[in-house]
């Protein structure tokens, strides 16, 4: 009789963590979406002056940064799930995941440039 069942071989145990982070990042993005929608409605549309002044606000910069990081995390979990489902050869899958990580880190740098690059 088997008394000691180990699931180590079949699970990396990141399932529940992904599940939770996917939801937390989604809520962050939802709140930011509502914030931006509210700002646009409040100003009744956006010209350059208004747009620029919205992004000049340090709190809005931080909120935008938080949104972007949440989105990049969310995208990583989602794209990795897609890769695990459809890209069966390990080499190709790891290559794809490596590229996605590089792209997301580059996007993070790009976001910082946009927000605080002057």
């Amino acid at each position: 009789m088997v008394t000691n069942v180990s699931y180590e071989a079949v699970s990396a145990h990141y399932g529940w963590r992904d599940w939770l982070s996917q939801r937390l990042t989604a809520v962050v993005m939802l709140l930011y979406t509502l914030l931006v929608f509210g700002i646009v409605l409040w100003h009744g549309g956006l010209d350059y002056t208004v747009w620029k002044s919205v992004f000049a606000n340090p709190a809005f910069k931080l909120a935008t940064f938080l949104f972007m990081i949440a989105m990049f995390f969310h995208a990583w979990v989602g794209v990795r799930n897609i890769a695990m489902d459809y890209v069966k050869p390990t080499g190709w899958r790891l290559t794809l995941q490596f590229i996605v990580i590089c792209v997301l880190i580059a996007y993070t740098g790009w976001t910082i440039q946009i927000l605080w690059g002057g």
Binding site: V27, L30, Y48, W51, K52, F72
Partner: protein
């Protein structure tokens, strides 16, 4: 010890032509959740970052960006991304509801998937009206 009769494994028909199986609504919402997510990652993120950068850099680049976005091709891209965002967001909200056991039964689950499909399309039409 009595002999245990092993069940005979019969060869069962395998029929997984996804295009010929009629998918239930929740399955359609589910695959569109995935497709819209991929679309947002591949096209959405770079286009939005590029747009935010161009629109903030100077009044001139803001005007350039605005005129670029008024070209039919870019309007179509914007519309596709708007649909992707709306569908993904609404399907995600449905997921959160299911997570807390709201609407888990068959009928409510079907109804909520219909709501996600239709509402995201209706809102996309609103975006289209705004764009054109």
């Amino acid at each position: 010890m009595a002999a245990i009769e092993r069940p005979v494994i019969k060869p069962r028909p395998v029929y997984l032509n996804l295009f010929e199986i009629r998918q239930p609504l929740p399955a359609i919402v589910s695959i569109l959740h995935r497709i819209s997510g991929a679309l947002l990652f591949v096209v959405g993120i770079p286009v939005v970052l590029w747009g935010v950068q161009r629109s903030l850099a100077s009044p001139e680049t803001f005007a350039q960006w605005k005129s670029t976005m008024s070209e039919p091709l870019w309007k179509f891209v914007a519309l596709a991304l708007a649909w992707g965002y709306l569908h993904h967001l609404l399907a995600g909200l449905r997921h959160l509801a299911l997570d807390v056991h709201v609407g888990v039964d068959l009928e409510p689950a079907r109804r909520s998937s219909a709501v996600v499909l239709i509402l995201s399309l209706l809102l996309t039409v609103l975006v289209a009206v705004r764009l054109w």
